[in-house]
Each structure stands twice: as structure tokens, then as C-alpha cells.
């Protein structure tokens, strides 16, 4: 499967990828974007790919376009429809969580996190998709 990780920190992108691999996901390719705008470009390119992205993991606080704006733009532009999106962020306050869910996020993980927590959030979403 292919996954897209969106975070302005290259370190966090690597840490999240490692957690996904430790979760037992059979990742054939991990796409990366450092903000929401770059992620939308990746998704537009993915529309013509024979093997589509199956999972999106996104930070919230990012420059250029943040994670909530990305969710809203993705919904408005009908990109990666039906693909589960899990937010991973330090911003775990209720207003942010509610806004993320309203904009189309299916899961929410607060930093710091363990690989087990990532697995517990991601696996049910992939099985249901």
C-alpha cells in the first residue's frame, strides 16, 4: 500500500513512517509533503496513478497551508475521496479535534505517541475502507 505523510518536520515524517512500518503495514511507497499545499499537489498527481494512496497522516500546525486547511481543501476539491486521514499533532484541544473531524479526519493521535497507538488508530480505518 501507499501512504502520504504530511508534516513540516522531516524528523517527524521519518518517525511516523517508522511507526507505520512497525505497525505491520505493508508499505510499498511513502509519499511525503511538508505542508498542505504540497500534499494537494501529491494527491492531484496520484489521481492518475494505478495504485492509489490508501492512507494519509497529517500534522496540523504547518506553514503555508496547515492540516485543517488541507482537510477542507481536499474535501472541496474531491481529492482522495474515501481515503482515511489521521491527524498526528501536539494540538489535542477539543476545538481542533472537532474541527478536524468536521473537515473529514477519521482519526486523531496526540504527540508524543507510540507505534502501538498508531497501529490502534490506523488499522481499523484501513480495514473499514
Amino acid at each position: 500500500m501507499r501512504a502520504l505523510i504530511i508534516d513540516d518536520s522531516a524528523v517527524m515524517r521519518k518517525v511516523i513512517e517508522r511507526a507505520l512500518r512497525q505497525s505491520g503495514l505493508d508499505l510499498t511507497e511513502v509519499m511525503q509533503a511538508s505542508n498542505g499545499e504540497e500534499a494537494l499537489e501529491v494527491l492531484r498527481g496520484d489521481a492518475s496513478s494505478p495504485t492509489k494512496i490508501s492512507l494519509i497522516i497529517s500534522d496540523i500546525n504547518m506553514p503555508v497551508m496547515d492540516g485543517l486547511q488541507f482537510l477542507e481543501a481536499r474535501r472541496d476539491q474531491q481529492l482522495a475521496v474515501g481515503v482515511p486521514v489521521v491527524m498526528i499533532t501536539t494540538e489535542g484541544s477539543e476545538p481542533f479535534v472537532l474541527r478536524a473531524i468536521a473537515a473529514g479526519a477519521q482519526g486523531y493521535i496526540c504527540k508524543p505517541f507510540t507505534a502501538e497507538q498508531v497501529k490502534a488508530r490506523v488499522m481499523p480505518l484501513l480495514q473499514a475502507a
Partner: protein, 154 residues
Amino acid sequence: MATSWASSLDWIGRLDSAVSEVFEMMLERSCVPIQDTDIVHDPISAQIFFSGAICGECLLFTSRTVAHVTAGVLLGVESGPDSSMVEDAVGELCNMVAGGWKSKLGSAEAACAISPPKVSTDPISSVLPTSEKHFRRFYSFEGCVFGVQMAFCD
């Protein structure tokens, strides 16, 4: 350093807890508070600002040597990460400590935004707080020492 106000609010205990959680969960390392120590040589620091119900900042500082080791453990790599990844890692650690500390506050106090981390290699003395309300804690994991300073608007 006047910290009785922070002790009464248990802000110090919450910081210790937040630091411990970050290291346990993200680095799989035990990290404990230690006695105050000298300002580190060849420093690197990351600073995050709180705005809203809480006004202040969180500063995480250490030596470049410790930052290099910490980044390697966080990334799970044997060979040393490059300097941009080390700075990125220090910023993310500060981000998670500040976010973890904030998440342990009551809902009214937690209604504040946290800024992106600002990483610097300036001497630590240049970022000493001017406000009365501040405290500093030092921590160690596997002999690697770093400090966290919390300062709040008067």
C-alpha cells in the same frame, strides 16, 4: 529563582511528567529530573511561545553533542544524523514537551496557541527570561543532560 507560584500550580510536576512521557514514548528511554547544572557548552536550543490564556515560552536547551545523540535515538539510526536533522529534532522535542505540558493544564488554561519551534545556537545566557515568573529544570537520559526553562508574562 522564585518558583513557589509554579509549585503551587504543579506546573513543575506537569513539566517533569511531560518530559518523561516524550522520552518514554518517542525515544523509548527513561528520562529523569536531576539537580541544576552548568549552562552547556556549544549550545543548541529550541523556543516555543504560548499565547492566549497562557502567555509565555518554553525553551529546551542542550549541547550539540547531546542533541546529536538524541536526534539519532529519535530517528532510530545508528549513524549520526546531519545538522539540519539535529536542529529539526530539537525543535520537535521542544514542541512535544510544550504541547504535553499544555495538555496537562485545566481546560481554561489550555486555551492557548503554541508557536512553531524556533531553533538557535546562540548562548543560553542570551535567552534568559526577564520576567519574575519562570522556572528551569534539568533532565538526564543515559547520561545525556538537557534543560527546559518555562517563563511566563508578568
